[in-house]
Structure formats: structure tokens, C-alpha cells
Subunit: 220 residues, 4 copies
DNA sequence: GATGAATGAGCATTCATTCAT
DNA sequence: AATGAATGAATGCTCATTCAT
């Protein structure tokens, strides 16, 4: 005859139904932060619940399993990754769009390093978790497609060399940018210099042989 | 009659003390492989012991704690990372030495992917484990120094542009190569193309403005 | 806007109060079926509520506790057990009434095996739950009384041996019939033969020594 | 950095290896008693461990799962059921062997009611657990075979009617005896009378028509 | 009447670690 | 040097129950 729990109702009740979604969001965000902080190795449902200020049982009321919570986090991250960090006009040239890619990742490394951390955790886990592997593959394919379209547009605009191997260049650029994400302990200034350098390298590579890249040097 | 203390293995008894070291080595190697396979998340001392064919208690005889075993693995990885994958004559030019860097990482990605996996695991863990962070920092500093010396030599040899920002270029190249290590699901052929492209990009960047990189195109 | 308190079901509103009883009945029936299906071990209030299409909280509105719901199930079973499966005229002889007992249990085993399953579950639980033990005792006493009256009438009608130990014979017959209920995995035809045989045995036992039981052989 | 457990070594160490088997046995016996006492519904590994005086983790050292422990209990029960409760000479007649069957179950009901309780629990569980269903089927087949052989021998010895339906009679007798096992709250004396009565009934049934069963009345 | 949200207590299981032998 | 046996502290998850709305 155990004494079962009495709900602690302390927070102001928002209009019902909304609270549920809010809680789910809170939980996902908390899990996201714990994941960024301690990795999958240190991700404990109990801590997530604690951070939100609820009972584990309540967590399981919203997410039937840890796996489901993780799925929520993945979705949350994907959504964050889709939000552009740098705005750009519709009329931008390919070269400008390419620079935006670098600017975007720089902003993320500087301002939202957890995004990269969580992404790394997912990448590591993807080695043994097919469901996450699938999502990352999808993410990468989207990214690759995006870069390829920039390169193709650049060729059309005669800004890039016509013989550019679009696929390989996109893959290479992704690999190079990824390296930035995994950057550890680099001062902001040093990071900025590295990003600039890589971006110049790539610009020099994609532009037609005789083109000057001097203009780029005026960029941040 | 008691089975206690009776070793199951009848391996040729090497001189005492040597056996101990051998056991430690076996354990470290097993842990290294488990770590590559399942990550920190799935690293269980019991499995490590089992793979070596000994009792967990025995594992704890050699390594007082899991942490100590991990330290052993880190040391083991460092040693592996120090072994060059591609040989090169003393007399090699800076440009040749630079190419060897790419060749080296290509070989590792293709032949010893576990090295990169374990390195990734460590990098992830370093975010929250200062002792590992320290070791990785040391590793990176060494790598950076090595690359910088190549660039400096290249400038001296007049193969590289005299205005090359050695530090930043080294940092950038490390970041780019690191990205390769974190590469997921890229076919060997595609990977080779990406590596080649990045290496050409960097060569084009470091060489004096008018220099042809055509020769490089004949490389794998 | 709040979804609170809005019943999902749009069933024809019976006069208030009746609906309540109906709900209780639905819940009891659902619980009865779950109990037959999964036993006490697998009886979950949530599942009962789900089967009826209501919230667990609502279930607790009708039944303050799981125990109360179980009591309802017991009552429901008792009611079912009281419903005769085979009709018989008032004027029937003792031997005919005896046969009806067998026919009745045969019908239950064949057509309502859940009754026996639930009864078994209750019997098992009665070992440690005095409240259920009490009810089952009452049930058994009633059954025993019924059988005893048959035997006594049979003796009066000179159909049964005058020296019949009415009490023991009734107890024995109950025990024998109970065994049928606990029967596992017996094909319908085999079960029928077993029932027939037991009934013949008992008839041979209760009838005066010289009586023929041949007639019985023509029965199903 | 949690503080892990220090083994409490209090009991006198028996020769190693033996202790292990002893512990397993202790655990199985404890689980058997809990199962008899509280049923599957109330079977908690923690309680089993507590009864033996060890940590739950230690229980799992011996039995990887609750299921494995239950298997051990089933095996233990089977072994108990195989131990005859009443001895009988090789030369016994079929009728004597038949009576032993009743005596055997009477002894069990009186002296080892837990056997029947556990058996009932298993029977109930068998409805939804195929692995237990398989074992019980095997048990029943063995029992049925044993009874059939008694009946066949009895026919050969001309003690039983030659037209006896061996299969059905055996099945019927099993059902009747099973009912005894499920007997609740019957005083020892009443139980004895019931057993005697059923045994007489069956004897009267199996014997050739004219045979007297008076001798049987002198039995217990 | 009905429901969403919440909870305490518990459950089987895992894991690094310890220690007498 | 090696092992069987043991353990404390967690871990993900479940369940009957409660209560404001």
C-alpha cells in the first residue's frame, strides 16, 4: 500500500495544452544543453528532469523513452542548424554566398559552440546508431546540395572556373568547414584568421586562373 | 581442489615482469579497440577484460581504475600517431614534406580509421576532461610546430611565398585535415579526390603567385 | 480554447446517473477481460481505462483505487457464475440435475473460458488476499450447498444410495470439477470425453449398487 | 567519482566453487518460497536477495535476469515433483500403484502445499508464457504417460476392465487430482475423506464390473 | 464528469570497484 | 598474478494515485 505521489503545482498554469508543448520544449532544450555539456556518456534523464524542475516520471510522461527524448534533441538541433546565422540578399552573387557559408560557421563556432558539440556527439554516435546516421546523412546531403548549387551558379555567373569539379569541391569544402567545428581551444582572433585563410584558399581555387582575390582581403 | 588463483591461460611464461608489461599492453590494446568500436559511451571494463581473457579483478590489478586504463589508451594512441605512415628521405623538399602530410592522413583514414575514431572520442571527452584536454593540446602543439617548420623551410627554399602567415596557415591546414578525420561515410575513391583537392588548394595557396601547380595534378 | 474537461466521447447522453453506472460497468468488463487475458500480473489500470476510451484519472473517479476496481470484477464474475448455462425444468430428477452440473461446467470451459481463468486468478490471489478469500469461500459454500441438496434429493428420490456421504461427495465432486477448469491445452473433443467419463464415474458412485448406468452412455 | 561497494565477507568461506553452487541453490529456494508466498505478482528480486542476505547485484551475478532465476525455480520445482512422496515396491500391482498416486498427492497437499501453489502460478503464467507452457506440457505428458502405463498394466494383470479407455481415463484422473491441488481451505481430515472418496470412485470405475471394492475401504 | 499533468516509490538491471583467497 | 564473489550507487522505466482545471 505505497503512498503515491501528489503533484506539486507551483508554476502558474498557462492555458492548458500549451503547457504540454512548453514542457516538451523545456525538456528538449535541457537535454540539448546536457548533451552539449556532458555528451551522450553523461546524459542522464534524471538530470534533464531535474534541470526542468520536474520528476523523472513526468519526463517519461512527455517522452516515453530516452531515445525519444534524444530524437527530440536531434530535431531541435536540426532546426537550429537550419536557421541562417548571417542574412544575405536574394540577389547575392555566388562568391558572396560562398563567403556567407564561412561567416555562418564562424558565428556558430563563436556564439553557439554547443551546436557543434552536439553535432559532434551525434556524429560519434552515428557510427553505431543507424537512426542517427540516417539523419546526419540527410543533413550532409542537404548541405552538399546547397554548396554544389553555389558552385554551379558561380560557374554560370562566370565567377568560378568552368572546369570546377563541383561535387568534389563541395565535399572538400564541407570537410574543411567541419574541421572548424571540431576546433578546440582556439582564441577568437586566431579562429577568425584561420577561417579567413581557408576562405581565401577556396576562393583562389574556385576562381578562374587569372582572377585577383585581393578584394577578399578587405573582408573581415 | 580450489580453482582460486589458478590462471586459465597456459601461455609460455616469459620472464616475470615482462609478462606484466605484456598484459598491460594487451589490456590497453583491447580497450583501444573497444573505444574505437563503441566509444566512451560503450566502453566497459568487463568487456576489455573478457577480450583479453582475464577477470575484471585482474584488470584492476594492472590498472587501479578505469581512468588509468584510459590513460594507457591515450598513451598508446599517441604512440601510434607518432609513427609515420609514409616514409620520406631526409633530403625531401618542403613541398614534398607537405604532400607527405596529406598522404599520411589519407593512409590513416583508409587503413587505421580506429585511430581517428579514438582521437574523436578523446576530443569530445576533452571538452569536459582537463587531463585529456592537456594531452590533446600537447599533441596539437606538436603537430602545429611540425607544420610550421615545413612552411618555414619552404619559404627558405623559396618554394613558398615569403609573405606566408606560417602560424595561421599551419592552424588552417590542421583544421582542414581534422575535418577529413571526422569524415563519415565517404567512399574511398571520393575521399581520395577530396584529399587531392584540398592538397592542391593548399599548394596553390602556399606557392609564390606565379608558380604552376600542374605537377601536382599528376599525383594520386 | 482549453481542452480541459471536454469529454471526447459523444455517445447518446443517457439520463444522468445511468451513464455513471454504465461507465462503471464498462470499466469492470474491461478489467475482467484484461484480467482473463494477462492475469493480475499484467493488470494495468491504464490499459483498462484505454480500452474503455477514457483517462486514468476518470477511472479513478469511478473507482477510487485499483482494489475497488478488482472488487467490481469479482462481483461481476460472481454474477456470471450464478447465471446457469443450461436450463432445466423444475421437475427434473436429481440425476438430471447432477448431469446439468457437468453440462454447465462443460459449456463454461468451452464457451466462456475467461470465467475459469479469472476464477483461477482469484483463487491464486485468495492465498494472500483475505478479502478475496472470503468471497471465494462464500462461493464455494454456496456451490457445496447446491450439490448437497441435489444429493439429498437424489437419496429421497431413491435414485442415489441411501448411505451416500453427502458432504464428502459434494466436496469431492467440486474438486473434480475444479480440475476441469484448470485444464490446459486439451482439445474440445478430448475435454468432452473427460467430462463424460468423470460424470459416469460419479453416477456409478452415487447410484445404488445394482443400478445400470448404461443410459448415461447415450449422453453426449 | 562514486564510491563503489566493498564486499561484506561475513559467512565462513566454504571451499571455493562450492559456494557459488550453494548460493545459486539458496537463491532458487528463496525465490521458490517467495513465489509460493506472493506469486509472480509479488515476486521481487530484491526480496529474494534480501532473504538470502545478499545484495541485488550479487543476485544478478548468479542469475543474469529475473527470467533466469525463474527458470531455476521451475527446474527446482520439477525436481521436487519428480521425488516420489510415497515409496512402493517394484512388485506392486496396478491397483496399488494407482493408490500410491492418490497418496502421493495427498502428502503433497498436506506437507508441501507450496509445490502446488508454485505449480498453479506456473499454470497461470503458462497461458501467456510459451516457455513455461512448454515445460508444463512436458510435465503433463510425462504424468499422463505414467498413469496410462498403470492402467495398461492393470488391464494386463486383469485387475482392470479390458475395455477401459486408457487415454481418457488417465486424462480424467489427472484432472481430478489437479482439482485437489487447487483445493483451498479444506481441513486435513476433510481432505483425506475427499481423496479417499475420489480414489474409490476411480477404482470402482476401472475395475471389472463385478469386482468388489470393499477392500479399498480399509485403506486410509 | 472528465482530463492533462504531475509524483513517490519501486523495479530489474548495470557497472566500476573491492577483497579474501 | 589471478579470481570468484560481493557491493553501493546509479540508470531507464513503470505504475497507481492525485489534483487543479
Amino acid at each position: 500500500m505505497p503512498a503515491y505521489g501528489t503533484p506539486k503545482r507551483n508554476r502558474p498554469r498557462v492555458s492548458a495544452g500549451t503547457l504540454g508543448k512548453q514542457r516538451r520544449q523545456e525538456l528538449v532544450e535541457a537535454a540539448y544543453l546536457v548533451l552539449a555539456d556532458k555528451g551522450f556518456e553523461g546524459l542522464r534523464t534524471r538530470e534533464v528532469a531535474k534541470r526542468v524542475g520536474i520528476n523523472i516520471a513526468t519526463l517519461h510522461y512527455y517522452f516515453p523513452s530516452k531515445e525519444a527524448l534524444i530524437s527530440g534533441v536531434v530535431e531541435y538541433l536540426l532546426q537550429k542548424l537550419r536557421e541562417p546565422q548571417v542574412s544575405i540578399p536574394e540577389s547575392a552573387t555566388a562568391i558572396e554566398r560562398l563567403r556567407v557559408e564561412f561567416a555562418d560557421i564562424s558565428v556558430r563556432v563563436a556564439k553557439s559552440p554547443e551546436q557543434l558539440k552536439v553535432l559532434t556527439e551525434l556524429a560519434v554516435r552515428a557510427w553505431r546508431d543507424p537512426s542517427i546516421a540516417r539523419i546526419l546523412s540527410y543533413l550532409e546531403a542537404a548541405w552538399q546540395g546547397h554548396l554544389e548549387s553555389i558552385f554551379r551558379d558561380g560557374i554560370k555567373e562566370k565567377l568560378f572556373r568552368p572546369d570546377l569539379d563541383v561535387k568534389t569541391t563541395a565535399a572538400a569544402m564541407m570537410s574543411q568547414l567541419r574541421g572548424l567545428g571540431y576546433q578546440r581551444s582556439l582564441k577568437a582572433s586566431a579562429l577568425k584568421r584561420v577561417v579567413t585563410l581557408i576562405s581565401l584558399q577556396i576562393e583562389r581555387w574556385v576562381r578562374p586562373s587569372g582572377t585577383h582575390v585581393g578584394a577578399a582581403k578587405k573582408r573581415t
